[in-house]
């Protein structure tokens, strides 16, 4: 008898069909927990396994789809143990028959969108895995609609078991997962996490799955498992039925095997007859391997970036090196500023964002994790985690929703040996700097020798060459006139060997005037030499234009779509610059871009603090006044606030730090159990504009947390928001907690369901009808010293 691992990918393996359908046929009512039947009716479950084995399948799946703590409370262990026992009893009668411990989704959505914390999900799955005690032959994680949840389950499996792990995803209409990832993205992300096989189940019938299987097969060389439904569900007489009969089902499964699947089974609506027909039709088919080499790729929750023909643009701006304002943002924990840099780069054409938030005086592990979590909720680009701190790297890789780029290792063994185990566990494409203990070799041969060494070491960790990208290091030509030439030579040689390359392009121009010119020309030369990816500033039009022109000239821009698209946008922009407005008008009208240029212009002749007093504040006041008299509405008020924020940003850079004055610190949040934060965010925006420092604790914040932060930060004013009647009690509790901890702290409340009466009832000091109301109250509080 062989093990599952030995047979996987060597021959076609047949998984069983639906369990739920069989149980419903046997009289299970909707709403009853099928998992409990392992205890109440083991013979029925065993009988279903027996039917599938009799039909000829190799793998039966335990009846434990929903056997997690959320559904079964403290029965998890008992149920899973019984289920595996039932399945094992049946498989032991056959040669090469295996038990898959089944793990389905939790039914909750993970944070930040849902309320299940990532590590909590890992814990839930870990309990299931441990309950299986490795008594099954493999772990089957299935019907996952969210890659992040799948990742939690895979980590739980890997950390608590040595069994092979197989993962299948359920795709929605358009062949996409919940968060927008396509089948190729799913394949890349799952493969990165080190699963033994991956694939698709449920959601569609076999015909609709075929193109998804093809996409997966092109993106990974791992074995693929496909378990379709017997068509689409229809409800007839209150019961769900499926319409694809066994013979038809089997004929599609032949195509699925030909598309590259080597494990097939069935999901909802399939019966032992479907499986029997499928086995009959596919048993003697040869395994198909795709011709195409598996590409180098990284992913985010929704996007996949492949290192192919076109040079990949990696945005370099999230990095404190040489940036005063960025360092200040890091020290002040100003995530918004950092996130803005990310969004700007995404908008200007980056494919991947480098994230470097290391400063000696901050906790890099915490900061990198926070920034990654925040960035991946607002930017859909894959991230490149740029740190020398291994702990920070691991923590960030863990919470990252996708397969990241890792920056970096080099020829020194201590770097590869610290990072490669993490790459193996979490997946990732690693940037390899071609330097070692001796420094950067002067010749391209010397750099290539380091590349070889890194390749060898990676192979020892089981990491193939396609998961590495080599950086031959662009050095300043101002210090060595040959620097660019040697670097380009190395890029070319690596490219010829079929290896991927990356360069921090802008280093080349260091120390010379008009750096953008040299940088963009060097970028073109490097692309010509075969550069796979450039770490550049996507906000530099010159650099991006050089790249676009190169793509257009070298046949990499189909129909010149990118070139023409960006050219016509540029023309529109220049023609719109026409009439001049005062800074006051620009802010009042909410014209951020014009306000920014206006402020820069004004700063040449006017003092920064004077601009605040004579232009910004009056414009804000005017907008506030018009809002209150209802001649201007919320979107305009906010646009005005945004323009003011932009101008403040410009001005902040020109005032020495100690001169920047805050009118006072205000702490705000949405109360416990409430996840609505739009109103709170609006209040925050306005308060910040009026010069207050706002500490935003976010949403769903416990009363104790608010009280603790109020005390530790010596807060004089707290703003609480609640949208639902059901969460107002938590607002009341929060008011009480703050009162007990800091009797002098004032509390203002607001939110859709609140009224003055409610506010009085729960003991708040002030009720704000809208965001301006909060500003007015803040002015009142802080005017009293």
């Amino acid at each position: 008898m062989s093990s599952f691992r030995e047979l996987l990918g060597k021959r076609i393996l047949f998984f069983d069909g639906a369990m739920g359908t069989m149980l419903q046929n046997a009289g299970l009512k909707s709403g009853e927990l099928p998992d409990l039947m392992n205890l109440s009716d083991p013979a029925l479950i065993g009988g279903i396994h027996a039917k599938y084995l009799d039909a000829g399948c190799n793998v039966v799946t335990t009846n434990t789809f929903g056997a997690n703590r959320l559904k079964l409370k403290d029965k998890v262990g008992e149920v899973i143990s019984a289920a595996i026992g039932i399945a094992r009893k049946e498989t032991s009668k056959y040669e090469n028959a295996f038990v898959a411990q089944d793990i389905g989704p939790t039914g909750k959505l993970l944070a930040p969108f849902g309320d299940l914390a990532f590590e909590k999900a890992v814990e839930l799955f870990a309990e299931q895995v441990r309950a299986g005690e490795d008594k099954a032959d493999l772990i089957l994680i299935e019907t996952m609609s969210d890659l992040y949840e799948a990742k939690a389950a895979i980590l739980a499996a890997k950390e608590n078991s040595s069994l092979p792990v197989v993962v299948t995803m359920i795709f929605g209409s358009g062949g996409r997962l919940l968060t927008g990832a396509d089948a190729a993205n799913a394949a890349v992300t799952l493969a990165g996490l080190g699963v033994d096989a991956l694939g698709i189940n449920c959601g569609f019938g076999p015909e609709a799955m075929l193109p998804l299987v093809e996409q997966m097969a092109a993106a990974t060389d791992l074995p693929i498992l496909v378990s379709p439904n017997a068509g689409l569900p229809e409800v007839v007489d209150g019961r769900t039925v499926f319409n694809v009969e066994p013979e038809e089902f089997a004929s599609y499964m032949v195509k699925i095997v030909n598309a590259g699947a080597c494990c097939i089974g069935g999901c909802c609506g399939t019966t032992p007859d479907h499986i029997r027909a499928e086995i009959e039709a596919c048993r003697d088919l040869p395994l198909v391997k795709t011709e195409r080499e598996t590409p180098t790729a990284v992913t985010s929750y929704s996007k996949r970036v492949e290192f192919g023909e076109r040079t990949v643009i990696i945005g370099e701006r999230i990095n404190p090196t040489g940036k005063k304002r960025f360092k200040q943002a890091l020290r002040e924990n100003d995530l918004d500023y950092i996130i803005d840099e990310g969004i700007d780069q995404a908008d200007t054409g980056a494919d991947i964002l480098d994230v470097n938030v290391g400063l000696p005086e901050i906790d890099e592990k915490q900061m990198l994790t926070d920034v990654v979590k925040e960035l991946q909720t607002v930017v859909s680009l894959p991230l490149q985690l740029d740190t020398t701190n291994t702990q920070a790297l691991e923590e960030a890789l863990r919470v990252y929703n996708g397969k990241a780029m890792i920056n970096s290792v080099n020829g020194k063994k201590e770097t590869t040996d610290a990072v490669f185990p993490l790459v193996k566990k979490y997946g990732g494409v690693t940037v390899c700097l071609l330097l070692d203990e001796e420094g950067i070799p002067a010749s391209s041969e010397g750099r290539l020798a380091i590349a070889d060494r890194i390749l060898k070491r990676a192979a020892e960790f089981g990491i193939p060459a396609r998961e590495l990208v080599f950086d031959p290091l662009a050095m300043a030509v101002s210090t060595d006139p040959n620097a660019a030439r040697i670097t380009l030579e190395t890029v070319h040689k690596l490219h010829k060997k079929g290896l991927k390359t990356v360069l921090g392009v802008s280093n080349v121009s260091f120390g010379l005037p008009d750096r953008e010119l040299l940088t963009s020309e060097f970028f073109v030369l490097a692309m010509q030499a075969g550069l796979s990816a450039g770490i550049v500033n996507p906000k530099s039009e010159r650099v991006m234009n050089a790249c676009r022109a190169f793509n257009a000239l070298s046949g990499r821009d189909e129909n010149f779509a990118d070139y023409i698209g960006t050219r016509s946008a540029a023309e529109v922009k220049t023609s719109a610059d026409a009439e001049k407005k005062t800074l006051f008008d620009c802010i009042l009208k909410g014209l951020s871009e014009e306000a920014r240029t206006g402020a820069l212009e004004l700063l040449k002749t006017k003092d920064a603090l004077e601009i605040i007093d004579s232009d910004i504040i009056p414009a804000l006041n005017e907008a506030g006044r018009r809002f209150e008299e209802k001649s201007l509405f919320l979107p305009q008020l906010l646009m005005c606030a945004e323009a003011a924020k932009t101008v403040f940003g410009v001005i902040k850079e020109s005032i020495p730090r100690e001169d920047a004055v805050s009118k006072g610190k205000i702490l705000i949040c949405t109360v416990k159990n409430d996840v609505h934060d739009i109103g709170k965010n609006i209040v925050k925006t306005l308060l910040e504009n009026y010069g207050y420092e706002v500490i935003d604790l976010g949403k769903d914040v416990a009363p104790e947390t608010v009280a603790r932060e109020v005390v530790s930060r010596s807060i004089r004013l707290v703003g609480l928001s609640a949208l639902m009647t059901t969460t107002v009690p938590f607002m009341e509790q929060t008011v009480k907690a703050v009162r007990a901890a800091a009797p002098d702290c004032r509390i203002m409340v607001g939110g859709a369901v609140l009224t003055q009466k409610y506010a009085d009832m729960i003991g708040a000091d002030s009720y704000s009808r809208d965001a301006m109301g909060a500003v007015r109250y803040a002015e009142e509080v802080f005017s009293v010293k």
Partner: protein, 202 residues
């Protein structure tokens, strides 16, 4: 799309200025690319209980629900969602461009209403054709959020259209609605169904 509703959600009375109008149009364009409206519904026979009503064995306790379904023998239960794309959009803009987040929120709220209206129309059309009452949702006064897990279970909402419940029974994606609606059959046939559609035309 109903611009009047969008303006109402934004508390704008009268005509919006050009910039706001532009922002609304921009949001509608972006939202249409990102949302993936889905719905699931079923029609149940109503069994009146002492302390509420039950639908296919699931008891909904409360006077309000009994009252609102007075005069109907059957009740349609449905759930609609715009998918997580809507949440992503609001989140993306909430820190960098709150004005757009606010407008986006209003646009998405209106789109959610539209999907509810379309679902209602679909139920009315049948077959069989139904006369329908006014729809109402958990969270309305007297209709506790505790109904949510029951509805989720009955319609297999998480599995079919991907809405999940938080511990306090809020729905995620946020732009989702569950609702009850009294219905009266015009003909006598059983009917119910599941529809998932991308690129919904509004």
């Amino acid at each position: 799309m109903n611009e009047r509703n969008i303006l109402r959600y934004l508390h704008i009375s009268g005509e919006p200025d050009d910039q706001t109008r532009e922002l609304i149009e921009e949001c509608i364009r972006e939202a249409k690319m990102q949302i993936e409206p889905k719905r699931v519904y079923r029609v149940y026979d109503i069994t009146r209980e002492e302390n509420g009503i039950s639908l296919d064995g699931t008891l909904f306790e409360g006077e309000q629900i009994r009252h609102r379904l007075m005069g109907f023998d059957q009740c349609a239960v449905f759930a609609v969602t715009l998918g997580i794309g809507g949440d992503l959009l609001v989140r993306r803009y909430s820190s960098v461009q709150p004005s757009k987040a606010a407008v986006m929120h209003a646009v998405l709220a209106d789109m959610t209403e539209s999907v509810c209206d379309l679902t209602e129309a679909q139920i009315r059309k049948g077959p069989p054709a139904y006369e329908t009452g006014v729809r109402f949702s958990p969270g309305y006064p007297g209709l506790p959020l505790d109904y949510q897990p029951l509805i989720f279970n009955m319609l297999e909402i998480t599995k079919r259209i991907g809405i999940t419940l938080t511990e306090s029974n809020f729905m995620i994606p946020h732009k989702s609605v569950t609702a009850f609606m009294g219905v009266k059959e015009k003909h006598y046939e059983q009917f119910s169904g599941v529809v998932g559609k991308k690129n919904f035309v509004f």
